[in-house]
Each structure stands twice: as C-alpha cells, then as structure tokens.
Symmetry: C2
Subunit: 327 residues, 2 copies
DNA sequence: GCGGGCCATGTAACCGGTTACGCTGCCGGC
DNA sequence: GCCGGCAGCGTAACCGGTTACATGGCCCGC
C-alpha cells in the first residue's frame, strides 16, 4: 500500500484535485472552507506531495547537480559543504555524483542527472575544452569549478593560484629571504601546475631550488630532508600545499634548524591545522568557492540566462610565525 | 526550445514510443532494424532520457537521500565520501540535504525528498526516538547512522565507542600506566557522551583524572597544560579525539615531558595526521561506516524488506610510538 | 489449407502532480 | 431586470517516460 496521493486527498476532502493543489500551494481562488477541508484531509492521510511528479509537471526540480572528480579529503568536503550551505539557504537540494574513471562515467553521470536537476556544478580539472562543451547543456545551466582558464563556453570559477604564489614570494623577499626552496605538487594536478608555473615566473633561477612532492606530509618531509642531506643552503621553503609544508617543518626541526630564523616556511591552502602550527600560508576559502559557484548558478537560473563569466577567487596571504617571529 | 523527448525520437525513427523505449532499454521483441533506426534517431537528436519522468512511471529513482546534521570538516566529508563510493558502485545517486536548525527543517528536507529517492540515510544524533519514528517512512526505506542505541524502529549503524575506549584503557594498563588523564569532548555530542561513559565504567576513581575540552587542538592543549601547572601527576593522557590529543602532546612537549616515557598519549578517530604524529589511537573508519550504511540500505531495497538491524562498528586500536617506544 | 502461436509493433492508460479552460452562481452597475 | 465580471470550483490535458493489451503478419504442424 503506497503513500497517499493528491487524488486520495481530493476524495477525502470531497473536492477536486485542482482545489487540493491550489489549497496546498497557497494559491488564490480557494475559499477558506475548502482550504480547511483540504488541510484536514491532508493531515489525516499523512499526505506528502510527490516531489518527483511535481518537478515533472513544473519542469523545475529545485535541485542542483554536482559532479565531482574523485577528490579525497579536505578539498572535496569543504567544497561540498560550501555548496550545501548555500543550496540550503536558497531552498535547493544537492544531487551528488562522482566520476571516478574517465569521461564515459562522466557522461553516464550527466545523463542520470537529466530531468532531476535544474542546473549543474561541474568540477572537471581533467576534461578539456572540447569535452566540456560537448557534454554539458547550455551555458546558463552549468558552472564549472577550476576548469582550465581557456574554457569560455561556460561560467568558470577558479582559484587565483598565480596571485597567491606571487603574494608569498613577495612576502619572503620582503623579510629578506634570497634562496627559496619550492616543493611542487603532483604534476597531473591542475592547481599544482598553476602554482609551479607561477613560482617559476615570479622567481629567478639563482634564488630558487626546485623540489617536488605529491601533496602529502611525508613527501614534503622527504623533499626537504633530501636537500639538507645534500648540503644545499637555503633560507626559505615554500610548499605548494600546507601538508607538504608540515612535512618540511618536521624535516627542519629534525635537522636542528630554527624556524623562522634559519629557514622561513610557507604553505598554501590554510588547512585548519595551519593555524595551530603557526604556518604562514595562502588562505583559500574552499567552502566559499563552492558557495559562490552555487550562488552564481541559482542567480542565473532565476534571472534568466546571462553571459558566461570567468571568476577568479583571490586568495589571501596569512602571515604567521613560520615566517615572522612576532606575527 | 527544450530537449528532445522520446516522442521526438519516435517520430524521427518512424516508430512508436513503445518501440523506442524498448529499443533503448535493451528489451526483447525489437527487430534489429528497428533497434538501429532508433539508435540513429536518438544519436542525431542528442536524446537523453528524462530521469525524472522515468522515475515517476517506474516508481523507482535509483537515488538515495542523505540527511545530515550540520557537521563540519572531517567527519561529514568522510561519511559522504564513503557513501558516494558505494552509491557509485551500485549505480545510485546521492541526494544531499542538511538540516541546520531544528526538526522543522528536518521535516521540510524529508518532504522534499519524497518521490525523488528510494530510501534514506539519516544521521540524527539529536533526534529522539519518537521524532524519528514519526517522521521517517517505513523501516525498510531508511537507515540511521549513530542514532541513540534505544532506537529500534529502524536499522541503526553505530560506532562502538565503548569497545574503542575499553581497548585503549586495556592497552594503557598493559604498558603499566596507572594514573590516566581523560580529556572529554563537548557534552552535547553523542560520541563524546558515550566515550566518557565508557571511560568512567572501565576505570576506577583512583587511577583517573578527568578534564574536558571541546574536541579542538587548543582545548586539549589547555586542559593538559592546566593539569601540569596544577602540579598533577600522571603517566598517561587519553583524549576523546585525536585533535585534543595533538594539543595534549604540544602541552607535554612545552613542559619538557618525554613521550611516551614520562607520559603516554592516546587519541580517538585516527585522523590522517595521527599517523604522522605517531599517535596511538582508535581507528574509526568513517568512510566505511557510510559505505556500510548505504550498502545495507540498497540490499534491503533490492531484496525486499528485512527486520531492522542495529549494527555496531567495532573500531580498531592502532598502537604507535606515543605509547610504545619501538612500535 | 487452415488454425494456433509467436513475434514485432502500435495505441493508450498510467505514474502524481499542475493548470488552462469552462462552468456556475453571485454581485454590482446601468 | 439584464448583463458583465469575477470568485470558486471541476474536468481533463499535459509533463515524459513505461507497459498492458490489442493487432496484424508470418511460420508451422496437421
């Protein structure tokens, strides 16, 4: 025995389905008496409108689809949290799908969303421009997050990695550091690529030492330990993310080097732990990025189409004791 | 101009909608010729089936609703990730909703899910038994996570906090510790309550010192610093979560105490950082908890109803150097 | 040669809502 | 007293799929 439908309510209240619909949705042209009868019948039957059917006839779902790659941990969680908050605030639900594998799965996920969502937020660092414009619906129904900068077909909200890196380098130079180690992230990661490129273009060959890791604490530790053991001299370490910076700090401490006096350390992301470790870093408000993407999308939906816009989120430099003693 | 519908495809392929449906769903009783015509027409029109309409007529959505409280960070993300992986594996989508405020919002979220999902995963530590059985659909369509143990109306998947705490205490005693500090979590948190109760029942008054924090690093640091300054003697610290354990370690280090020789430290949760800090802790596989909940739900859906089951997830003690020097 | 059965296909009802449109009855203005 | 307008309500079409049932053609066995 299934749940009650609007026709059951209509029968019980002795009115037509149209009146039930009007009454429950608070529309005009319904007498107070009818309204009351309907409300009573609905309550008695425990009637809950069938959102699926409603969407079908309204051609509107009040849901936003979110397509994410297989990101682990912090980033994934924060971005979803930000979207969730904003969705909740504006009365939308989030339909989540991950695409672990290649574009075949992405396509399947996209298809599964058809008719269940009003629009999409897609985070697809590994899809190229052609794939994106082929698979996605019109521009007004989708927003990309951290897609390659050259995508122009859809709105694209990105982190300004260049600005963040430049800010760190400027800060390190301002405090008199002249020989910086840069610990890069995994080369397949778009943010890692952008940060590395920014570092390369904002520093000169004689003031930098390049190392690389995979965004893990251990890889940061290993990279810096290796340089110390190799006898390299440097007065600053800039890791492409906070986790590697934490590893770097461990390595410095193990080698008996003082921070920041001997070596200043900076990271990128401002994970919650960075504050407790007093790590200078670049604050990327990931949740805000997600909230922003969703907000933009909903606004586009409600105000009708608009030109696709590429929006850069400028991160903020947070100076702490890992670079400035009395910060 | 909207997207193509099944009737458009039928018209273009010069067959009936029934044949299109059968062909695209790979059913029998369709000639190869028709199948090909339909496939061609669908491709030409860029036809994507309308999942919403499909669900309506099938009375099946292939989606699972997830209702979460306003949890921040790690826990939220891990549990969603675990569910997502499992959902993906079994061909389901996840519909996410948060209930920030009270039960009014929870009710609204539940209603919004009607007709869009086949079943629900509800994490509702603050809802009591009555509220749960009133608001939720039949038992076979919902699984709870970390609901109070006395809820019997629905399946309930919980972390076995008691077992985890007992394992830690047993371990600490086995390595000869006889005076333990317990740093409890915030009293409104269900896990904190259970862990505190377990600690109280598994230790005796003369071997424990109670302190409390709020699950943050800083609160763990403050609690232990306070005890040291007050001149308390102890040879072990057991924090109700890893974050506070990290704070405790900072405080011990600042006081010049050796770990584990002078004071052994243990936490709870096994956050990623615990491994790098070599912290003995209780591993709670949160993602696995989410995956398990989803898996159970889908199995119930597909095999028809079953008795509601309360499942306890036994966490695992992970011994590291914060308690055993050569671990 | 004829009837039964099966296969391919089409028609139309149905899922559970919304809503255009038509009808009735009442009111007020002339 | 008549008519236009509007409030209240109901009927039925529609959203875009699936599918029960009907139909017609063909093959086969007798």
């Amino acid at each position: 025995m299934g749940e009650a439908t609007i026709r059951d309510v209509a029968r019980k209240a002795q009115v037509s389905v149209a009146s039930v619909s009007r009454a429950l949705n608070g529309l005009d042209h319904v007498s107070e008496q009818t309204r009351a009868k309907v409300a009573a019948a609905a309550r008695d039957l425990g009637y809950v409108p069938h959102a699926g059917a409603r969407s079908l006839s309204l051609a509107r779902t009040n849901a936003i689809g979110v397509l994410l790659p297989d990101v682990h941990g912090e980033f994934f969680s924060e971005i979803v949290r930000g979207m969730d908050v904003e969705a909740n605030r504006r009365g939308y639900l989030l339909l989540l799908a991950n695409m672990h594998a290649g574009s075949a799965q992405a396509k399947a996920a996209l298809q599964a969303m058809r008719g269940r969502v009003d629009a999409l937020v897609v985070m697809a660092p590994h899809l190229d421009r052609a794939a994106i414009s082929r698979a996605l619906p019109q521009a007004s129904r989708a927003v990309l997050i951290n897609a390659p900068a050259n995508v122009r077909s859809h709105s694209n909200i990105r982190i300004d990695n260049h600005a963040g890196v430049r800010a760190v380098i400027k800060h390190l130079k301002a405090i008199g550091r002249s020989r910086m180690v840069y610990v890069g992230g995994p080369s397949h990661n778009l943010d890692a690529q952008e940060r590395a490129a920014a570092f390369a273009s904002a520093s000169s060959a004689d003031e930098r030492i390049l190392a690389s890791g995979d965004f893990s604490v251990e890889s940061g530790n290993a990279a810096v330990r290796g340089l110390i053991e190799a006898g390299e001299r440097f007065d600053a370490v800039f890791a492409a993310n906070d986790m590697m910076a934490i590893g770097a700090i461990q390595a410095l401490r193990a080698a008996g080097l003082r921070m920041p006096e001997d070596v200043a350390v900076a990271g990128f992301d401002d994970v919650p732990l960075a504050e407790h470790l007093e790590l200078t870093t670049v604050r990327v408000r990931i949740a805000e990025l997600g909230a922003r993407a969703l907000s933009r999308l909903i606004t586009m939906l409600e105000n009708g189409a608009a030109e696709p816009v590429s929006e850069l989120h400028s991160p903020e430099l947070v100076i702490r004791r890992s670079t400035v003693p009395n910060a």
